[in-house]
């Protein structure tokens, strides 16, 4: 079998597996978020929080809950890392406290569902930080994203109330009923295939020719499962999902890609169920699917063609790739991880072909909506749908409606603010970093010195870092040495602003929609469940992203690809 055919078959198998669970998982999640019943452990948690899970919240209250919970999350994770040095060595593995700027960066990163890592996991973080800190945020930051998506869906589904549900109930249910059960099963599957799961710490094992090799133990499989399922991406090891202990063979590789994509895709079914018309969900799914498959096909083509002088000399794009995965599976993983907010890698994007690296960048710049992060993918796509409906309305000259709600001045202002935030952060911080002259001994030292590759690729590394941060992806063109005060601080800010500012506008939009009285469907209503609308949606996404980022892309990956 040729490698290309094997790549196509792997993609086909992945699509089949996703299609198989789409309906059951999507329906199950719809039931989770609309059920009237509370499980017993959930009741204990509500009592501990002191919250009434049945109390309806309007959007400001819902948002305040998110912000309070996330603020506490950042502070706790920051303190845990700063205190690592005084923890007993069975918990810290003897690692010292993380420096303030890096601890801030990492805390912001995991709470914002980004998992950008300016540290090497096996060299910095002990058991306590990994399991009590990082793994917990892997769960809850994902649950927060799903809660916001569900709140927006309720905004479409409900009328004349302005009520969006209860944040604490959505947070706890998403964690307890969806993320935990799937993660337990997934982690056991990973261990069965060879991922490690122990608390052995760092120890020596023998070598065939004598001498020893040092290896890390750790709760790796449990972390790996939620890292993919929650579209987090923060690796236990520096090499992330390329490390054989995290991703032992070609099956686990496909399985991990499946975990990345399964919730974001299935949420479109949940959306359809909750708004009472599953076809509306299919239209959103179609737009996501077309972009995902298109990008994957392009990525496989350029990686198999291995453009670039060094890859041509080697005869294949295997630099920074593992033999057990090969080019095809690595291309599928690289596309899935950047089109969602995951950022886990099974191969290193910095060594992809110029076009391949550009595609990973463009995937993130689309706003990670095809299918996007857990929750954030759906709400990002629905905001785009609002914009697409508005554009269609302009073309025919009637007031746009979506799912029976009028898209008026207030709604379109909120949607426009949403799509402006990330580009502002990405381009602003990139421009600042490139403009920075770096006097020695300055706090800014290391902005320009950090770049590992020169020329267009060096610019791409910086652009990639801020695109990854502000879009909450977390993957890197890892040539950039990001562990400097400048990058730790600015990327940390980009991650927090890129996560929580959009949520403000999404929830405000949800609140505004939930207050409306639905307008009846007429012959002139745009049929948003039809293929025509899915096509319009894809077009709107590509045009908006293209116009926003074209100049920056031309300076980086495109210049590299043409040179």
């Amino acid at each position: 079998m040729s490698p290309v055919l094997s790549g196509i078959l792997q993609l086909t198998a992945l699509i089949a597996a996703l299609a198989l669970v789409y309906r059951p998982l999507g329906d199950y999640m719809a039931r989770v978020y609309s059920s009237e019943k509370h499980l017993r452990p959930e009741k204990w948690i509500y009592r501990l929080i002191g919250a009434d899970p049945d109390a309806e919240m309007r959007w400001p209250a819902y948002l305040r809950g998110i912000l309070a919970f996330s603020l506490v999350g950042v502070l706790f994770l920051y303190l845990l890392q700063r205190m690592q040095g005084v923890l007993p060595s069975s918990l810290s593995l003897g690692f010292t406290a993380i420096s303030p700027d890096q601890a801030f960066n990492t805390a912001a990163s995991f709470v914002a569902n980004t998992n950008w890592q300016s540290y090497s996991g096996e060299q910095a973080m002990g058991h306590a930080v990994q399991t009590l800190g990082l793994a917990v945020q892997n769960f809850v930051s994902a649950a927060v994203g799903m809660a916001v998506a569900i709140a927006l869906v309720r905004g479409f589904a409900r009328s004349r109330s302005g009520e969006l549900g209860n944040f604490w109930a959505d947070l706890v249910r998403g964690t307890i009923r969806i993320l935990i059960p799937v993660s337990v099963v997934a982690a056991v599957v990973l261990v069965a295939c060879g991922a490690i799961q122990n608390f052995a710490g760092i120890h020596d094992i023998g070598q065939l020719t004598g001498g020893t090799q040092q290896v890390n133990g750790g709760a790796v499989a449990s972390q790996e499962a939620i890292k993919e399922l929650g579209t987090n991406g923060g690796g236990y090891f520096n090499a992330n999902s390329a490390h054989p202990f995290e991703n032992p063979n070609a099956f686990t590789n496909l399985f991990e890609i499946f975990l990345i994509l399964v919730i974001p895709f299935a949420l479109t079914r949940t959306f359809g169920k909750l708004v009472g018309n599953v076809k509306q969900g299919y239209a959103i799914l179609a737009a996501m699917g077309v972009i995902w498959i298109g990008f994957t096909a392009l990525m496989m083509w350029t990686e198999y063609a291995h453009h670039g002088a060094a890859l041509q000399a080697a005869g294949g794009a295997m630099e920074g790739k593992e033999q057990r995965f090969g080019v095809g599976a690595s291309a599928i993983f690289g596309t899935a991880t950047t089109l969602t907010s995951t950022g886990a890698v099974d191969s290193f994007h910095s060594s992809f072909t110029g076009l391949g690296g550009g595609l990973t960048l463009l995937s993130m710049m689309l706003g990670e909506i095809a299918p996007g992060g857990v929750g954030s993918g759906l709400y990002g796509m629905l905001v785009m749908a609002v914009i697409a409906v508005f554009i269609a309305g302009l073309m025919v000259g009637r007031t746009p409606e979506y799912l029976g709600k009028k898209i008026g001045t207030r709604e379109i202002k909120l949607a426009a603010c949403y799509i402006l935030i990330t580009p502002t952060l990405v381009l602003g911080f990139t421009a600042l970093s490139m403009a920075m002259s770096t006097p020695p001994h300055s706090i800014l030292n290391g902005a320009a010195d950090s770049v590992h590759n020169s020329g267009a690729h060096g610019f791409s590394e910086v652009l990639y870092a801020f695109t990854s941060g502000a879009n909450n992806n977390g993957s890197a063109f890892a040539g950039l040495n990001a562990n400097t005060q400048w990058y730790n601080t600015t990327i940390g800010l980009a991650m927090l602003l890129g996560r929580f500012l959009p949520m403000v506008f999404v929830l405000a939009l949800a609140g505004s929609l939930a207050e409306q009285t639905p307008v009846p469907e007429t012959a002139g209503t745009l049929r948003t469940e039809k293929p025509l609308f899915a096509g319009l949606l894809v077009g709107a996404i590509i045009i908006i992203t293209g116009l926003t980022y074209f100049p920056a892309l031309a300076l980086g990956p495109m210049a590299e690809g043409l040179s």
Partner: protein, 215 residues
């Protein structure tokens, strides 16, 4: 004003309590349950798939290792041992932090596809591998010329293993035909026939080779 401060404080306390409760569930119970199942059902795999030969630990099936001589080349890199099958190049750098642990550090070169450093490196490796194995430079496969993603890739391509067979046979005074057969016996196909790539686990091959040399 007082009211809003109080309500904010109440909200932050609620957030803290929620975090504590969920930390207990996701950060303590969840990893312990998974570890319990893993250790009970898949003890060896959960602990790193260590391989023992003659009662001694010789490494992990999942991790690549080096097979080198005591001698070093002019750049200070240890020379490869011709008696063993050699793994892929590794770009996982020397330890820079926490040196007291001398950890095995995973990682890749992160060099770009058009990088001059990478281009020179590939050309150098092609010449080195060809000379070391006594084959033509054009015959060297891509996995022998490029550094892996993890830096501890346990596998090489069947082509690279086959290319090394004659040199290994000669260095161990073994019948070349037998070593070639050994390589073929150690080729792992794609999982279910289509997932990933064909590969040879270098450690397992070298263990079998040592057995063959002893016999």
């Amino acid at each position: 004003m007082n009211n809003s401060v109080r309500s904010t404080a109440r909200l932050v306390v609620a957030g803290l309590r929620a975090l504590i409760a969920l930390t207990l569930v996701c950060g303590v119970i969840y990893p312990l349950v998974v570890t319990g199942i893993a250790q009970a059902a898949f003890h060896d795999k959960a602990n790193g798939s260590e391989i023992k030969a003659d009662g001694k630990s010789v490494g992990s099936e999942r991790l690549g290792q080096t097979y080198v001589l005591d001698k070093k080349d002019k750049d200070g890199n240890p020379l490869p041992d011709p008696k063993f099958f050699q793994p892929r190049p590794s770009a996982a750098g020397p330890n820079t932090e926490n040196t007291q642990y001398h950890l095995l550090v995973s990682g890749a070169s992160n060099l770009a596809a058009d990088s001059k450093v990478l281009l020179t490196g590939v050309q150098q490796r092609r010449a080195d591998v060809a000379a070391f194995n006594g084959v033509s430079p054009a015959a060297v496969p891509v996995d022998a010329l490029t550094a892996s993603a993890s830096g501890v890739d346990p596998d090489i391509s069947p082509e690279y293993a086959r290319l090394q067979a004659d040199r290994v046979a000669k260095a161990n005074h073994l019948d070349a035909e037998k070593v070639r057969k050994l390589v073929e016996d150690h080729v792992d196909g794609r999982i279910l026939g289509f997932m990933g790539e064909e590969r040879v686990n270098v450690l397992k091959l070298n263990i079998a080779l040592r057995e063959l040399a002893k016999a």
